[in-house]
Structure formats: structure tokens, C-alpha cells
């Protein structure tokens, strides 16, 4: 347990320190590299929350594609020498962010999440599942008193079932959005008159 705590707080320190670096470092290129570090740390959080698929997606898309795109953008626009300067809104922006942060931290700390999580959870099997993470493994479910076929149906379900099942409409919509964004990005980057 203490090992988990150490890893968690180390990842938190990397993520928050990197994020501060992204907004405060003058050199944009370094800011982009720090951003990639933040993405990796967030991927670590996903692994700790047993969302391994998301962790892989995070590394592939954020670190592999988005961070690299940012670096391309920075190199191509050659605004590096002017750096990451703040504008006149610096102080109001800081105040707004700090107030919002205080409100969110207050809510997160003072809300009694256990009653919320416990609502509608009556039987032993469900409690066992909440202690298991993500998809609980078969032995844990059997120990919690589920029959063999129930265990099979639980262990067989996953992200793919949800994406192609319950969420198929948003899934298709988001593919359309990606297509539109790709065409729009091409049209914008190509410029007018050509």
C-alpha cells in the first residue's frame, strides 16, 4: 500500500511540476517536452486506476502524436525567440484559476464520496466488485458468490463491448468529427487561393 502511495505522489509531483513548467517556462520547445512528460505521468495514473487501455491510448496519441505535432508547430512558426510571454491578463487569470482550484479542492475533499458510492449497492457481489478494479478477475467474483455463467458474462465484457454497443452512436459521430477536423485542418493549413 505504501508503495502505491509513493508511486502516486511521485507521479503527481511529475504531472503538476511539468504542468507548471508548460505554462511558466519561456522556451516553447522545452514547454512542449514538459507537456509530453505530463502526458506520460497521466498515463501512469491510468495504469494505477487499472485503465490500461487508456494508458496505451494516452501514450500513443498524446505523446506519440499530439506532442510531436506541437513540436512541429513550434518549429514551423519560428516564434521561438519571442517565447512563451504572458499577456496583460496574467493576474486576473491567476486569480480566477486559484479561486476555481480552491472551490474544486474544497468540493473534492469535503464531499462524502462513500455514501455516494454505496448508494444502490446491496449485495456482497457488488461490494466485492467495487474493491476489485475495472473488470474484476474471475476468482474474485467466484469468491463473492457469483455463478459460473455470471462470472463469464462479467469477465467477458469490456471497453470494446461498450464502444460498439451502448456508445455506438457517439462512436460514429466522433469518427465523423475526426474526418471533418482532418479536412478542416488541411483546408486551413493550405491557405486560400490555391
Amino acid at each position: 500500500m505504501w508503495f502505491e502511495q509513493i508511486v502516486f505522489w511521485a507521479l503527481a509531483a511529475v504531472a503538476i511540476g511539468g504542468a507548471l513548467g508548460v505554462v511558466l517556462v519561456r522556451d516553447l520547445f522545452r514547454a512542449a517536452l514538459l507537456l509530453a512528460t505530463v502526458f506520460v505521468a497521466v498515463g501512469g495514473f491510468y495504469v494505477m486506476m487499472n485503465a490500461e487501455f487508456l494508458a496505451v491510448v494516452q501514450i500513443l496519441i498524446y505523446v506519440g502524436a499530439i506532442a510531436v505535432l506541437f513540436i512541429f508547430g513550434i518549429m514551423l512558426t519560428r516564434d521561438v525567440q519571442r517565447g512563451n510571454a504572458p499577456n496583460r491578463l496574467q493576474i486576473p487569470a491567476g486569480v480566477i484559476s486559484a479561486l476555481l482550484l480552491a472551490a474544486m479542492v474544497f468540493t473534492a475533499v469535503t464531499t462524502d464520496w462513500t455514501t455516494l458510492a454505496g448508494a444502490g449497492r446491496e449485495n456482497q457481489a457488488q461490494i466485492a466488485q467495487t474493491q476489485a478494479v475495472g473488470i474484476p478477475d474471475a476468482t474474485e467474483l467466484t469468491r463473492a458468490g457469483l455463478s459460473a455463467e455470471e462470472v463469464e458474462s462479467v469477465a467477458g465484457s469490456g471497453l470494446a463491448d461498450l464502444l460498439i454497443g451502448d456508445f455506438v452512436l457517439p462512436f460514429e459521430a466522433v469518427s465523423l468529427l475526426l474526418l471533418a477536423a482532418a479536412i478542416g485542418g488541411l483546408a486551413l493549413a493550405r491557405g486560400r487561393g490555391r
Partner: protein, 109 residues
């Protein structure tokens, strides 16, 4: 590691991103700050799904993974946003010779 700690870390990431998005002059720095905000939101979604999702066995645990499905959609939208955002960056750079947002006042007045 608890829900509260995860939510606090996510909130810190989100607010740092918000500060960056509001207070930076470089367009690309603003886009990077927005990515930080996306990551904070994603962490919150996954943490809520991991610790709070009410679900029953009969529904095949779909509620547990719903947070992760939302996060997948957010990542997709973030990728689309970056594709468009960088398109706008290059268009802006071509017309203005800079990606400074305080110079980008063509649409004003």
C-alpha cells in the same frame, strides 16, 4: 491513492491549464494549456468511474467502464481539436508572420 487525491491532482492540472490558456500570448502555448485541461478532465472521468460508478452485475459492469469510454471520446475530440488548432496556427502565421494572439485582432471591430 484515493478518489480525493486523484480529484485534487486532476483539479490542479485543470487549473494550471486554465491559467495558461488565459494568460499566454503564444497560440501554441494556449493550445498546450488546453491539452492540460483535457488531461485533468480525463483523470476526473476515469477516477469517478473507478471509484464511484454504481453498477449491477446484470449490466455486465458497463458502468465501471463508462468513465473510460468518456475519456476515449475526450481524447478523440482533443486530437481533432489539435488538428484544427494547428491549421489555424499556420493560417495565422501566414497572414500575421507571428502566432502572438494579441496581434491576431483581424476579426475585432
Amino acid at each position: 491513492m484515493s478518489l480525493e487525491a486523484m480529484l485534487v491532482v486532476a483539479a490542479v492540472l485543470f487549473c494550471i491549464g486554465l491559467y495558461g490558456a488565459l494568460a499566454r500570448r503564444n497560440f501554441i502555448a494556449v493550445l498546450m494549456s488546453i491539452e492540460l485541461m483535457f488531461n485533468g478532465v480525463n483523470l476526473t472521468l476515469v477516477a469517478m468511474g473507478r471509484w464511484l460508478a454504481p453498477y449491477t452485475v446484470q449490466e455486465q459492469l458497463s458502468a465501471v467502464l463508462t468513465g473510460q469510454v468518456f475519456a476515449v471520446f475526450v481524447i478523440t475530440v482533443a486530437a481533432a481539436e489539435i488538428a484544427l488548432g494547428l491549421g489555424i496556427v499556420f493560417a495565422l502565421y501566414r497572414t500575421n508572420e507571428s502566432v502572438d494572439l494579441t496581434d491576431a485582432a483581424t476579426l475585432r471591430h
